[in-house]
């Protein structure tokens, strides 16, 4: 299995600033990681994923960084908007990437955007 956890339960940032959400994992055999966004009353929504053969991947306004040496990944959100307010989860999996292992989720970070 995988043990994935987050450093901070709540992160408050000003609208327009950049946000960084951190995540640590324990299983060095994990090779696939995903960031999900979950708004109240909804299921987790896929944001971005990264495989262990990469150390950085960029999407629209989001960047995921993976440091395998210290087993840490982060999600950077550029120019945060009110719609970014949500709970963010990192999740990890083995080579099946969500197959028989399933994904293992951290507890989540609540991102609050201040106007």
């Amino acid at each position: 299995g995988e043990n994935v956890g987050l450093h901070l339960p709540t992160l408050s940032v000003q609208e327009g600033d950049n946000s960084i959400i951190n995540c640590a994992y324990s299983n060095s055999a994990s090779d696939y990681f995903i960031w999900y966004k979950q708004e109240s009353g909804k299921g987790p929504q896929f944001i971005i994923d990264i495989r262990s053969n990469m150390d950085k991947r960029q999407g629209q306004r989001v960047t995921v960084l993976l440091n395998k040496t210290v087993k840490h990944l982060s999600l950077q959100i550029a120019a945060t908007q009110p719609g970014d307010s949500a709970v963010y989860f990192c999740a990890g999996a083995g080579a099946s990437g969500g197959g028989a292992d399933g994904l293992t989720f951290g507890k989540g970070t609540h991102l609050i955007i201040q106007p």
Binding site: G41, G43, A91, A95, G98, G102, L103
Partner: protein
Amino acid sequence: GAGVSQSPRYKVAKRGQDVALRCDPISGHVSLFWYQQALGQGPEFLTYFQNEAQLDKSGLPSDRFFAERPEGSVSTLKIQRTQQEDSAVYLCASSFRQGSSPLHFGNGTRLTVT
């Protein structure tokens, strides 16, 4: 619709009742997962299907929990003799194929056992 659909959205059950939660995955998705999410926590794995085969049920908390996917599409999670500790959001997710593809989640069923 294009997404994973779950029903009902909310379910209130009296302790001891049986409940059945339904999941309609995205059409063509081979893999289907059930997760349990307690308030303020991340989702916890319950069980996994590849087509109609239940390949992993190691996360089911007790033998009161049972899941099926008889035709490899719609899945049902059944909880017998519900207990208060079963109160949670039950999330269903599907993915196109096994291996290195993200899971697409439904909005869940919020189960409250009174």
